[in-house]
């Protein structure tokens, strides 16, 4: 299952180095360091308020950490870059509370995912015929691949705001995917879904990982899903990294067990 099994690990695609983030006096993240390896599914888990989304926001540039570095592909320090620059490097994401462009069609939402790959501006767009039209058609073809992969052909032209919750989640994944990203950040893509929808979503995530070889960082609360599909798991609790490793290692990590299940009164703090 894991693409790291029995092989020398490749150089990490992302080095998160000693990242700390605080809001006023509240420490959201404290000294987080771990690596994300190319073409793997990296899960981030932890109780509510552990700082999972904050970490994702640091990676996509919406939050600026107080200290630390986030190196992407060895050379780019994401901490110094604006969100749109980070997107241009090939980092895409979905949000926990769906942040789609509600009044636009599914197609337009996905075409916006192609924004960084397209060139036409206000002037060539206004003239349209010629360059802009050729470009639109070319990128429409790519978007149709995404539509096929996610099986949303029937809602292409629907306004996003009118779609059911599960479909909106799928469209949001599609928009991130339309960017043809090198790193895909998914913030609770299965939250609020029934088990059938969850299975679909897990299948899409695995498809993307296998067919596109995209690195996926996944925040998820459903432990069954996390243990099944991820190659590596990072566990946050109160803004601290309390465990990182393969699902098997995490399953037996005493700190993780304590964070999730608590410890019995009088029991000694595990080392």
């Amino acid at each position: 299952m894991s693409s790291l099994d029995g092989k020398e690990p490749p150089p990490p695609q992302m080095n998160i180095e000693r990242v700390s983030l605080s809001f006023g006096g509240v420490k959201a993240l404290t000294d987080i360091s771990f690596n994300i390896y190319p073409s793997t599914i990296q899960a981030i888990i932890g109780p509510n308020g552990a700082g999972k989304t904050s970490l994702l926001n640091c990676i996509s540039g919406l939050y600026k950490p107080r200290q630390g570095r986030i190196l992407f592909e060895g050379t780019h320090d994401l901490v110094r870059l604006a969100p749109h620059r980070i997107a241009r490097l090939g980092v895409a994401r979905s949000f926990q509370n769906i942040e789609l462009f509600r009044h636009m069609s599914v197609l337009d939402n996905l075409m916006l995912g192609r924004h960084v790959h397209m060139k036409s501006g206000v002037f060539s767009g206004g003239l349209y015929w010629g360059f802009a039209q050729r470009e639109e058609i070319q990128h429409r073809e790519f978007v149709e691949h995404v539509i096929d992969l996610l099986e949303i052909q029937h809602i292409r032209k629907n306004t996003v705001g009118s779609l059911a919750y599960g479909l909106q989640k799928r469209v949001e994944l599609g928009r991130a995917l339309a960017m043809n990203p090198r790193l895909l950040l998914l913030d609770e893509p299965m939250a609020g879904m029934n088990s059938e929808e969850k299975e679909d979503m897990a299948r899409f995530v695995l498809d993307i990982s296998e067919e596109w070889r995209t690195t996926i960082v996944l925040i998820e609360h459903d432990m069954g899903v996390v243990m099944d599909i991820s190659d590596r798991v990072a566990v946050l609790d109160f803004g601290k990294l309390i465990g990182e490793g393969t699902p098997e290692e995490i399953r037996v990590n005493p700190l993780v067990i304590e964070a999730y299940l608590g410890r019995e009164h009088g029991e000694a703090m595990p080392a």
Partner: protein
Amino acid sequence: MQSGIFHTQYAGDMSMRPTWPMRWRIVVVILFVLLFPWSADRYWLTLANQIGIAAIGAIGLNILVGFTGQISIGHGGFLAVGAYSAGLLATRAGLPMWLSVPLASLTTAVVGAFFGLPSARLKGLYLAIATLAAQEIIIWLLTHGDVIGIAESLSLPQPTLFGLDLTANGATDFSFYWIILVCLAGTVIFTSNLFRSRAGRAFVAIRDQDIAAQVIGVDLVRYKLLAFATSSFFAGLAGALTAHYRGIISWERFTVDVSILYLSMIIIGGLGSVSGSIYGAAFITLLPALLNNIGRAMGDTIPQINIYLPYVQQGAFGLAIVLFLILEPEGIVKLWRDVKDYFRLWPFSY
């Protein structure tokens, strides 16, 4: 009755008017605007020209407010920039109209982008107040013309186009009808194209969800300024056309009232809609004219009506906005869409 639309080519699916009923409707509209001036008298031509100019300005404002979601109460000021720069280019530099109008529009685009700078930090009502400041600054400069060396009002030379005297035989309204029509058609086509391509989609993305727009790679500051510039370009075009059409301009035509008037045009017509901007411009221009005519017609039987007419006009204007906001907040364009939807399935509309 239509049962579905099928395309075998992406170009066909992405075209502006993909179905035959849509194409026939536009042919009817084109025939009407081409034949209209030959049968209309001066009164109707003047009204048509006012609507055309207002529509250009309203489309411009809609690009900013309706599509990009950045409120501006400064568009009266931007119209003034367009009018005065066209006037100055024509009088001081002696430029012909075909040069002064586009140059004035470009000047306004630059000025608009400058006054759009606060949008990098401000949103919603705060941005509205910042653009109100732009409006007041521009009007202050015009009323204190000695500061920048211009008079409060400006007379333009007789309008000519490529050597043709546009005022010959009192045909000013007739010849300007065609100039305004070409400009309006250009504005409509440009704007419709813009919003089915990359930059326009980025504008709408900023309106709907600016954080997500950033994360998919839209440079917010850049695109907000581009929206301000594009929007002001068309405001400048409307202003420059007004200047040449009227032949005389003064700052009173471009006060904050005008900004509000344009805002009500796009609200009544339909935010985020090109055709809605035209409907709104027509509505706001025709409403006072209609009330005038009714007043005149009733003037014979009720002589006192002329005293109250101005108040009735103001009241009717306010009432129209309130009624639209309550009954059809999406504007005239939504009414028209409902009519089309009804007849699409007619007579089996259950």
